[in-house]
Symmetry: C2
């Protein structure tokens, strides 16, 4: 059914957001629907005469002419945007040819080892929207831990790099850092970049927005500066200031990853192989030559045991070595949130306090940033082994890191409006005397998200106590901030349900409801 | 987020058919969408006060009040029907709790062996619509051939039976038959049932409609009689006439299978384990005690090699033995279509010709039906081993099978209108002299489907030549029938592209374009 049908339909934009999945809407009485023997959920290929690539979509059948008439071909927002043509354009629709690389996915599911050419074909078909969500799920499940050898992770990484563009900074040492995530408030990039750039090392940091967390580096940086920069402006400022803190979405870096995430997230699939390929392909595409990876370990972090962290580190190193990316993977303490704030405005406050050497600045955030920065500084052949930490501390204490941050903010541009802390707030207090013995990362992230973070930048959680600190009954453990009433209610309800804090009495008995 | 939100939305039916996947539509400016931090493709739980079970759906975000206003909760046809309440009913929406059994799916993906309790939890969650398509895909991929032990196939079969209702015929011997599919025109059930029922053996045959083929037994039987019968009428007529040829969808037999098929089909996943569990759970739920399974083998059939057919047979036998279902699995010749007609009207014609002992009746269909019927008749302890064939032939030749078929048709009721052969037709002819050496099942099925089968009952393909028969240039190989112009054009184009016939010249050189 590759040949388009003679009877064209008129394109219509259907204002339905189907996220990463293209959907086409055909009226049940449309002649094409009848004659093609389509069925709902079938994959179709949409072609416009004279236009190059067909757009692939999943079919939904419509019985309401207000949505799509029998002479129209409705397209969801995503599909309409991808086609990029005005409403009314004549288009034809036909059964989609199954992606040729699906054969390789079936081989992978059957327990075979795939080679580079197969991973390359799969990632290309995914980027071209030839895979449905269920086909992507089949691929991801076929590639889980037990099913993927490390050479395959290497091939997949290479294929993911090849799926998009690649930045070239034309310098021998391009530093980058990445945290695998799972610990709220862990906003070290906004400290590491100014420190490292102030030293003169190139560190063009591009970050993502939050996917499941209450804030990503891009969300938090956006409190202070614009982060959506055209690639040319990005390149220019990086050469001038040695660093940036921008959103990576404007460059087409390993785009297959952005598509797969739509399936990984709801499936909670985060197999080591996929994670390593995903992170390293983005960093290689971004032009990095030296990469520091932060692997936090803790009972409520993404990686829960030391042994898993070690295995993950070895996999990063294996792929990095073979692909020509120097990797330093650091296993860090992830047993509680870092800093005080959780949510963009609150995290930006923490970061600025550290840069400004404010006595109120959270010490754990400062300390972790210095540790990470010192390891990156030691990538520099001129920095003596073991001297990185003193160098990083000197750059921070002297105000040179703050100065560099201000230069980066000025270069990226002020944000349209400075976001404020949410107008609604509530203090969550301790129910009894004792010592804080645990703070659950997942529950704190959940409360901050319910409060509205990261969409409402001023929403979130501000921690007044950390693990090891004493607390008396009635004292504030943390404050919740929100902008909207309903968000506020949800976040407070969740905190009432489970505060996320464990306060152990002097007798040693933990009480989960602090 | 199990607790419903306070602010209810008004239910609205959105006339979009999303097949087996519930979709909920929320306007982007709806307060619930904002406050809940939803994202498109998130799974949500829809609750109505005072009503029992929540309905699960995938979220699409709408920017057009003509589809869903900001005070409404739009539901796709399927979701609206499942909720079963009028438009305007106040309903609340919340994040869906992930199905608890997803943990078992992750274990399966991780290479573990699951037990009955886990398969039972998974099938229950699927039947309750708690799984998204991608979660079902993850489950199916995790259960492929390499990953499923035969004890697990047994557990999955049991769990699928438990997911729905079970018919009890209150007789010690309830016969049934099933073909695993892949060979067009293989309409033996409509001959086997009257023969076996005429002998007095109970054979309450329920069938499906075509999913990927040009006709299922239910589609073809519908040319002659009504097939959608209430369960009570079905039971009554089976007790009176010893058999039926009805659609199985009215009884809730292993309903999880009907849901999984929405994912299996587009993924072309037909692993032996899934196939065996799917078929046997339906048959056990339908009350069968003795089952004949037809496994056609051929280069363009579902099973291509003898060794695979044998493995499949052994898996059927293993599960059947342990679950108390007597199984006789027959490996049959599937190298070309059976009979002449492909498509409901044409296949019904073939069946009636055989029953009427018409000299024009296709001999291969008659012969295969007698072989299958003889094996079922020998389930009867009173039929001497080796006498089944003679008995079946006698029932057919004497007209008792025809008589039984007429009684079954009368009991099920005449169809509202007798379907006719499609008004458009074209003969596909041989391009050169020679002998037919192959007919491709897949291509013949595709041409018949393009012509409109099974939706247009009169559409299809009528074979004039079979493998081994001589043909001279210009002679008709087959005729295409269609009702609609566009279908007709498509089918003819597909036949011009590849006729599906291989005609070998006397010199022995095959030419694919016959």
């Amino acid at each position: 059914m590759a040949s388009p049908t003679r009877q064209a339909l008129q394109l219509r934009r259907v204002a339905i957001d189907t996220y990463k999945e293209n959907v086409a809407y055909l009226h049940r009485d449309c002649h094409v629907y009848r004659s093609e023997g389509f069925q709902a959920l079938a994959k179709v290929e949409i072609c416009v005469e004279g236009d190059g690539r067909p757009v692939l979509a999943v079919l939904n059948v419509v019985d309401d002419e207000a949505i799509t008439t029998r002479n129209e071909l409705g397209l969801s927002e995503q599909a309409f945007k991808q086609l990029g043509l005005p409403e009314g354009t004549p288009a034809t629709v036909a059964h989609a040819r199954p992606p040729a690389s699906l054969h390789a996915v079936h081989r992978k599911i059957g327990g075979h080892r795939l080679g580079y050419a197969e991973y390359e074909a799969i990632t290309r078909d995914i980027v071209e929207n030839r895979y449905s969500k269920i086909e992507m799920a089949a691929f991801l499940v076929g590639c889980t831990e037990t099913g993927m050898e490390r050479e395959e992770v290497l091939d997949l990484t290479r294929a993911m790099v090849a799926s998009g563009d690649r930045l070239d900074w034309e310098e021998p040492l391009v530093a980058d850092k990445h945290c695998i995530g799972g610990v709220p408030g862990n906003r070290t990039s906004m400290l590491v970049v100014p420190i490292v750039a102030a030293h003169g090392m190139l560190i063009p940091k591009t970050s993502s927005r939050a996917i499941t967390s209450p804030a990503g580096t891009a969300d938090t940086m956006e409190v202070l500066a614009r982060v959506e920069l055209p690639v040319e402006q990005l390149k220019d400022m990086v050469h001038r200031y040695r660093g940036c803190l921008a959103w990576g979405g404007t460059a087409r870096l390993a785009p297959v990853d952005d598509i797969l995430i739509a399936v990984e997230r709801p499936l909670s699939m985060d197999s080591p192989g996929q994670m390593v390929a995903s992170i390293l392909s983005k960093k290689i595409a971004a032009g990095a030559t030296h990469l520091l990876i932060d692997i936090p370990v803790g009972p409520s972090a993404k990686v829960r045991r030391q042994i898993e962290a070690l295995q993950l580190r070895k996999l990063f190193e294996f792929v990095g070595d073979r692909i020509g990316l120097h990797i330093d993977a650091m296993i860090t303490d992830g047993h509680q949130p870092i800093g005080r704030g959780i949510g963009p405005v609150l995290e930006a406050r923490d970061v600025m306090q550290v840069l400004e050497n404010d006595p109120a600045a959270p010490r754990d955030l400062r300390e972790k940033a210095l540790q990470l920065a010192s390891r990156i500084l030691e990538f520099d052949p001129d920095v003596r082994g073991g001297q990185g930490y003193a160098l990083a501390r000197d750059i921070l204490d002297s105000g040179r890191a703050l100065e560099k941050m201000q230069a980066i903010i000025a270069a990226q541009g002020e944000p349209p409006a400075a976001p404020q802390l949410g107008r609604l707030s509530k203090n969550i207090t301790a129910t009894h005397d004792g010592t804080v013995t645990a703070i659950n990362n997942l529950q704190m992230a959940r409360i901050a998200r319910l409060a509205g973070a990261p969409l409402d930048k001023g929403a979130g959680v501000d921690l007044y106590r950390k693990v090891g600190e004493p607390v008396t009954a009635g004292e504030t453990l943390y404050a919740i901030y929100a902008e909207f009433d309903s968000d506020f209610t949800f976040a407070c309800e969740a905190a009432a349900d489970s505060s996320g804090f464990t306060v152990t009495t002097d007798s040693g008995a933990p009480r989960s409801r602090a």
